[in-house]
Subunit: 445 residues, 2 copies
């Protein structure tokens, strides 16, 4: 054996076999499932980590409520003191919300504890601050569960694709809206009926705004774009349009065209002809060709489609929500953070070295599907396509058919810029030849 | 900030900013693509690693051949001396074969170099010896590219699902056979015609045995089972049946039944009623329901379907072969191994602590689809179903239809054991009521 440099770089932290102390912040659906699995698979996890996990405490806001599964004496309403304990190595945040978990996570990181969080809103809003604290203390910040639960896209972007260039990430990352759109597509039901059904089945919350208006998906888009492009993209940088205005007619029109409407989170690298690059992240209803792998993602499933320079197209599919799938992702992160505590080393963290500019939404190139009712007379088509041409919108297909109330005209554009489209739609609306705009939808590439 | 234990466990190895020396063994399709990408993304990779990658040499068997892209003076036919160099930190093996790369990889590991290999045959045959060498020297052994190229299933099993229990992994892990079967399904072509087409297009090698007889898929099954069940499963432990006997009639019969034939690698945890566990890995043509996500994997694409206790069902889909996708996986591994050289720490390696027994193929439970020509007379059905019952095979569906040459009888069983099926088929064949067995195919669960 020749002289080994590697052996000297390997520095066990706590030392193999020593316990890793866990503080669990929050004990809702996810927290209780994390604890159940931690107990059920204790022996397995010890083998995988190199030392046993030991629960130091569970912090909740109200200790008087019964908390099934929490061992006697471990429940506390003092999260700060729990985090401060010397025998806590990894802090698991599954509270939800932003301000209070932000304070606790920062406190934990600054105290040299690694953190595992499932909190997409927190990460999407404050990743820079959190990453900085983790870097300063040289600890880990894991958040696999923040995007699409057990679908391991965070780990894949951080590690597996670390040798490649990501060009685009398109994902169905919200189960509620996919359940609604898939139901509308397969049964012809209205948006309102499917929303009621989703609420009845527990897929939608009492206030469904965060899901149906795309805010939840936008948080995930911010996280995916940051990881994929090594550039800080925050929630506020994401253009966001929900599904509440999608009608049964839109769905039917998509079907006629061999397409399906999905709420996509699209993160992309935009390369100008001169080679300058920027990134954009957006969430909006999108027409997806039925042959595309994302089109067949049904019910409340999630899927993320990644286009990389060398790897080509990859898709990751599974349950994007729910107690057990989320807990699976949290536990995978706990194993990772705990292994590092035992064996030394740090997971690749946030790394926003590329720091690419974020394109304004008006600059984003996409293709559009414009569905209108128009006057049924000679010259209309010439008038309307002239409006498009004047606004630099070139057309890919034009379909005109007779309707009971004027003619119906469907224009599908070549790739165009959002701001050019917006102007075009305004001018079309204002044209006397147009009786009404049925819908303007974007197409997936 | 409170006292931090974590900060003391973090031990930079070479120190941030120091170069990581790379030795590349092999310069075929994959090796040249790895080098091209290493050069193209040099700046990006340096940011992700924390230090620059520096190529120390490229070892090939014949240095007189022109090797485009290899810098002057870096080509050598002395792989052993290249590995021995003190300034080589990570050895990348993309030679192929087993014996020679085994010697080189062992030498590298024992010299304290981390190793990245794309060699499925090597890993499937010698993982125990390689893992032991890596553990002894406390270095990394990465092999993401050995299974399904850039589909990051190795990393996902090692890390993302480290907090979960894997129950089953079913994968389309060979592009050549999927191209052939998909072509037979979509065009009605014969096996021979599609094999010729695959050869013409470069999807099949001149000697297609390793692909069409399932050996390539069996290597991957061994690797996936080992990772998923923390139990050493070797190539020789995998039951293997290829696609060369699949006929256009089999494909047509599957279509009639709403199914499609795929060559699946199936790795499963078998739990007996008394709780004892074993594992099995097998590769064979399998009837897959058209609604199953694996059914729609077309052309030469690969996909791996993972069933985990908490995560539920996950699927990973993409290009499972080719120079660029394989190089993407190799480079992801190079980044991982290099990060650890710079920052300290080790990736989770082989960990076969569970050491579950490997079920003999006869014990494996599955469902069968038996397609026969039988005499067209009263009493035949009673005779044949009695044979099944006697052999503990219970039937799920029975379909009899008139044919031009006797009747056709299709039996689909409930879950049964392979050895019971084998006996049943022998007795059915021997029965005078059976004119011929058209096919016996296994069904996916």
């Amino acid at each position: 054996m020749t002289d080994s440099t590697a052996a000297t770089t390997f520095n066990p932290g706590k030392g193999a076999g020593e316990p890793v102390g866990i503080a669990l912040l929050g004990y809702g659906t996810v927290g209780s499932e994390v604890l159940r699995l931690m107990r059920k698979y204790a022996d397995e996890l010890e083998h995988r980590i190199g030392g046993p996990l030991e629960l130091r405490g569970v912090a909740v806001s109200d200790v008087s409520k019964p908390r099934k599964g929490v061992p006697e004496g471990l429940l506390t309403d003092d999260a700060r003191s729990l985090i401060d304990r010397d025998d806590v190595d990894v802090v698991v945040e599954v509270i939800g919300g932003i301000d209070y978990p932000r304070e606790l996570v920062l406190k934990a990181l600054r105290s040299g504890k690694s953190v595992v969080t499932a909190n997409k809103a927190l990460v999407a809003a404050h990743a820079d601050e959190l990453a900085e604290a983790a870097d300063e203390a040289q600890v880990d910040l894991y958040f696999e569960a923040a995007v699409a639960a057990a679908i391991p896209v965070v780990g894949v972007l951080r590690r597996s694709l670390a040798g490649d260039q990501i060009n685009r990430i398109s994902g169905i990352v919200n189960g509620t809206t996919n359940f609604i759109l898939d139901g509308m597509d397969s049964t012809g039901a209205s948006y309102e009926d499917m929303l009621a059904e989703a609420t009845r089945l527990g897929y939608a919350e009492a206030d469904p705004t965060a899901d149906v208006e795309g805010h939840d998906a936008a948080s995930k888009a911010a996280i995916l774009a940051s990881l994929g492009f090594h550039t800080r993209v925050k929630f506020d940088d994401v253009y966001c349009e929900g599904i509440s205005r999608i009608t049964a007619d839109d769905i039917a029109a998509a079907q006629e065209a061999g397409q399906v409407i999905k709420l996509l989170a699209i993160c992309e690298r935009i390369v100008e002809p001169d080679g300058t690059e920027s990134v954009a992240a957006r969430v909006h209803p999108t027409l997806v060709d039925r042959a595309h792998p994302l089109a067949s993602v049904s019910q409340s499933y999630n899927a993320i489609f990644v286009e990389a320079e060398a790897a080509g197209n990859l898709m990751f599919y599974g349950n994007g929500a729910g107690g057990a799938p989320t807990a699976s992702a949290v536990l995978g992160d706990i194993v990772g953070a705990s292994r590092n505590k035992v064996h030394g080393g740090r997971a690749p963290g946030e790394n926003t070295y590329a720091n690419l500019p974020i394109a304004t939404f008006g600059e984003v190139p996409t293709r559009f599907h414009i569905d209108m009712r128009v006057q049924d007379r000679a010259g209309v088509l010439a008038d309307l396509t002239a409006i498009c041409a004047r606004n630099k919108i070139s057309l890919r297909t034009v379909r005109q058919e007779e309707g009971h109330d004027g003619a119906r005209l469907i224009l599908v554009t070549h790739t165009a810029r959002e701001e050019d489209l917006e102007r075009t739609v305004q001018e079309l609306s204002a044209s006397p030849a147009v009786l009404g705009i049925n819908s303007v939808l974007r197409l997936a590439d």
